[in-house]
Each structure stands twice: as C-alpha cells, then as structure tokens.
C-alpha cells in the first residue's frame, strides 16, 4: 500500500513538472509576439502620419526646410534591385541546375555546402570586396558596385531555391521529353525550367526582399546621394541608407522621416515575401 502511495506522489510531481515546462514553452513562444507588435506598431503609428503624395514624389530637403521626400531613395532602391537581379539571376539559376542535375555526385555536395558557407559571409565583408573590385579601379562610389555586392548576397538564395525546386520535378517529365526526341539542353530549358518556374521565382522574390533592406554593403559602394540619380556609375541613394542617415541625425523632424521611410521599406519587404509564399503556391504546377 505504501509503495502505491509513493508512486502516486511521484506521479503528481512528474505531472507538475510537465505542466510547468509546458507553460514555460508556451509562455516564451507567445512572448515572441511582443517584439513584433512593438516594432510594427511603432513603425505604423509613427510612419503613417508622414506618408503622403508629397513624401513619395519629392527628394530630400536640407535641414530646417519643411517637407522633403524619399523619391530618390525609392528610385535608387529599385535600380539597385533590378541591376543586382540582372547580375545574379542567370548565374544563380545555372549553378542551381548544375547542382540538381549532378545531385548524386560528391562534388555537387561539396559545391552545395560551399554555397551554404557563402551565405554565411557577413554582408559588410561583401561590401569591402565590392569596394576593392569596383570602387577602387573606377576611383568613385557607384550604384554598380553596390549592385554587385547585393548580387553576391542574392546568389546563394537563388542557387538553393533553384536546386531544391528542380529536385522536386518528377523524373518522368524528363523521360517524356527525351522520348519525343528532345535533346538535353532543350529538355532542361523548355520543359524542366518552365515546370519549376514558380519555385525559382519564389527564391528570386525572397532574395530581392532580403537585399532591399541591406545597408552595410552599400555604405562604401553605392554610398548614397540626395539627388535623383539614374546613372549606375554614380553614387546613388537608397531607402536603407536614407533611414541610416536620418536615424543618426540629431533632428527630430528627420527621425520622423526615418519612421515613414521605414514603413515604406518594410511594406516593400513584406509584399515581396507575401508574393513569394502565397502567390507562388497558387501558380505552382502540381504533379
């Protein structure tokens, strides 16, 4: 009898520990909502009152002058996105195809791991390399050097998503193409790639979302500019650089502009991620 009581007591204690543990896990997980609400709440609250048509279609004004907008920064961010995508995209997709086509080989695994390691390189280091390779020879800061830095940051994401998507394509699709006499490159380019377009597109969108907020590699490449600039061989403004410069300044009016610019930037990032996850799932070809 006493033995039974002991076990019962042990059981109560174990169940209590289990409950405390569960409560801790739940509690700490739910606490993650807190930074999300604090960050988004403040950005929306402080940013929305400054978003207006003037804010979106004007360039920055000097300290003390009212108004001023972020047109040059938005245009700059757009140009940087487009240029870096043009550089990274063909190359990333080709490496992705190579890795999935040779996925059984050891060297593909090695390259795949190297791509992972590449992804871990701090973006500021990539910025230094772009500075040495492009800014030093051209003897001036340029949007092009910034775009090259950003394209290096995009590469691993594009390679990985291409590789993963292509691996999901059923082998039968390839066999079908071969059986009607298509040769290798036509099979890949005309059958396999179109079938995996949604996955590749999703990777591209995610990588664009990521670089749209990158600041560190732009500090000494694109450098920033207060005027509207379309020439990629000249210094160019961008949203993250503008936020950085305004945030550092001692003027409260500029902090308010930084909140509004943050709201614009976070909206861009959010939209790209949203299209990547929701939109692309919808276009996906089901097998």
């Amino acid at each position: 009898m006493s033995g039974d009581r002991m076990e019962y007591k042990g059981f109560r204690r174990r169940r209590l520990i289990d409950k405390i543990f569960k409560a801790t896990i739940y509690g700490l997980s739910f606490l993650l909502f807190l930074p999300l609400f604090l960050i988004f709440g403040l950005i929306i609250k402080n940013g929305i009152s400054h978003i207006s048509l003037e804010f979106l279609i004007n360039n920055p004004k000097p300290v003390g002058e009212a108004g001023g907008g972020i047109l040059n920064a938005m245009v700059g961010t757009l140009i940087l996105m487009i240029t870096s995508t043009i550089i990274a995209l063909p190359f990333g997709v080709l490496v992705g195809i190579f890795l999935s086509e040779n996925s059984k080989r050891k060297y593909a695994l090695v390259i795949s791991t190297i791509v992972d390691v590449f992804q871990g390189i701090p973006s500021i280091v990539i910025g230094i390399v772009a500075y040495i390779w492009i800014v030093l020879p051209l003897k001036k800061f340029s949007a092009l050097s910034g775009a090259v830095a950003l394209s290096f940051i995009m590469l691993p994401t594009i390679i990985k998503s291409t590789e993963e998507t292509l691996k999901m394509i059923p082998y039968s699709l390839k066999e079908a193409a071969y059986s009607v006499g298509a040769n290798y490159h036509r099979t890949i380019l005309k059958v396999i790639l179109p079938a995996s377009l949604s996955g590749i597109l999703s990777g591209i969108l995610v990588s664009i979302a990521r670089i749209s907020g990158e600041t560190a590699p732009l500090l000494f490449t694109a450098f920033g500019s207060d005027i509207l600039e379309y020439n990629i061989l000249k210094p160019m403004g961008s949203l993250p650089l503008l936020i950085f410069n305004y945030a550092k300044s001692p003027y409260p009016e500029w902090h308010e502009l930084a909140w509004a610019a943050s709201l614009v930037l976070i909206t861009i990032v959010f939209i790209f991620n949203l299209i990547a996850t929701i939109g692309v799932n919808r276009w996906k070809i089901k097998f």
């Binding site: 606490l31 403040l42 950005i43 190359f91 490496v95 990539i126 930084a258």
Partner: protein, 297 residues
C-alpha cells in the same frame, strides 16, 4: 545519364559547359574574395604585426591599430545575445516542432517568426535607437550607473531578437527529424511530455541544436547595422556590460569611408578578413554537423 545519338547543333555541349563553368565560377568567387582580402591586408599586417591582435589601443591618429577591443566587444555582444535568445528559440522550436506541430496556432507563431526574420537590420537598429535605448537608460538610472542607454547590453538585447528566428528555423527542422516510434515508445512506458523532451528529443538532436546555435553565433557576430546604431562606438576595451563599445563589423561600418591613409584602410580590410575567416570556419563546421544529421535522420 542518357547518351544521345546526336548532338546536332552542339547545343548540349555548350549548355553542359555553361553549367559546369558557372559552378566552377562560384568556387572561384569565394577563393577570389579570400585572396583579395588577404592581399589588401598585407600593408596592415606589415605595419601592425602582432600588435593588431594583441595590442590594446586603437588610435588612427597615432597610427596604432589594435583590434583587440573590437574582438572583445564582438565576443561579449554575440555571446550575451545568444544567452538571451536561447530560451526563446528553444521554446519556439519545441512549440513548433513538437508540442503543436501542424496546429493553426503554430502557423501563426511561425508566421510571426518569419516576419521577424524578414525585418531589415537597419529597421531593427532604428527601432532599437528609438525604443530600446530609452528603456535601457531607465534601467541604468534605476541601477545607479551612468545612464547612457547605448552600449553592449542594448546591442545584445537587439541582436538576440534578430537571431531568434534564425536559430528557431534550424532547430525546429532538426526536432522534426526525431523518429516518431522513439517518442511513442517512451510515452508507452508512461513518460510525460517533459520527460520525452528531456530524455529523447534533446539527446537525439543535441548535435543539431549545437550546430544551430553555432550558426546563429556566426550570424550574430557579423551583424552590422543594428549593432552599429546602438553599441555606442567607443574604441576601448569595454569595462562593463553596459559600457559603450564597438564590434569588428561596426568599426568597419563607422570608419571605412573616413580612413584617410592607406594603412588605416588596409587595417580595416584586415578586420574584414578576420570576420571572413571566422565566418568560413563557423559556417563550415555548422553546415557539416547539420548535413551529417540529415543523412543520419
């Protein structure tokens, strides 16, 4: 592989070479990055010698460059950030990968974490400057220490929020790999869920969890903008957890465009080289462990 009878227009050959050379190119790229940084660091290594790593003063005017203050600043900030974040990321991983796997609330938490992961570093930094700094200042006033607001502690708290999504995404996947029959066997013996976590899940995923934490450490010490904005940018060896400091990444961000002499610039590039080497080591080891885990699981 199929062998084709005819490659009529030579297209296959060209295409396959293109694939091959683009894969070679990515290898060359990482090698070229390393070599570039090494070459550009040579003037710094010649000028500074071992003082670079083991001196104690960073004074560009006197041309004395020791990065020890930044190494210490980086280590303290990253390790403190990891310590703060680990309880949260492990809880969230268990929540998503074990307790409520596949439930609606899990999807909401996962969505939350994905959004946190997507917020740009610069916005974390700005938010930290506007919100976290005053909070820490109030805390410092309460504790009776100089109320600066900026400093190592603030940077660590901000960094911890930033790396939680990263650790969670790795550890969650590892936890999902624990075989169901192992867990069921433990339940059938009367184990509570806590005991399953303690005796089955944690031991089984130990190496994966360590790799996840290691990779997050790699992420934390290379993080630049958010840290630069709240750490206080002081070039001394920090005396306390609340002292202003600099990390290796933040000193590059702050001083690179102001570097007036060749030696100064070269020294900053050598800081970048050290960041690169550490990140290559941490990521190779971390990826290796994770890779082995997936093969086993």
């Amino acid at each position: 592989m199929y062998r084709f009878l005819k490659d009529r227009d030579g297209g296959d050959l060209i295409f396959k070479s293109l694939l091959f050379f683009s894969a070679i190119f990515i290898l060359l790229l990482i090698v070229a990055i390393t070599i570039t940084l090494i070459i550009q660091s040579i003037p710094s290594i010649k000028h500074n010698g071992l003082y670079l790593l083991f001196g104690d003063t960073w004074d560009p005017v006197a041309e004395k460059y020791s990065i020890l203050p930044f190494i210490i600043g980086t280590l303290i900030t990253s390790i403190l950030a990891l310590l703060i974040s680990i309880p949260f990321s492990l809880s969230a991983s268990l929540f998503l990968g074990e307790y409520l796997e596949g439930k609606r609330i899990s999807k909401i938490i996962k969505f939350t974490i994905d959004i946190l992961a997507g917020i740009p570093s610069i916005i974390y930094g700005f938010w930290g400057l506007m919100v976290l700094v005053p909070l820490v200042r109030a805390l410092e006033e309460f504790l009776g220490i100089p109320p600066l607001g900026i400093g190592i502690f603030t940077a660590s708290v901000l960094l911890s929020i930033m790396i939680i999504p990263y650790t969670t995404s790795i550890v969650r996947e590892v936890i999902k790999l624990v075989p169901q029959d192992l867990k069921e066997a433990a339940y059938s013996l009367g184990a509570t869920r806590f005991e399953v976590v303690r005796d089955i899940i944690i031991p089984y995923t130990k190496s994966g969890i360590i790799a996840g934490i290691l990779l997050s450490f790699g992420r934390a010490f290379g993080e630049t903008m958010a840290v630069t904005m709240v750490i206080g940018n002081a070039n001394y060896i920090p005396k306390s957890l609340f002292a202003p400091a600099n990390t290796m990444a933040s000193v590059i961000a702050n001083e690179f465009t102001e570097a007036t002499t060749d030696i100064y610039l070269s020294t900053l590039i050598s800081v970048g080289l050290i960041l690169l080497i550490i990140s290559l080591i941490i990521n190779s080891v971390g990826r290796y462990i994770i890779g082995r885990f997936y093969v086993r699981g």
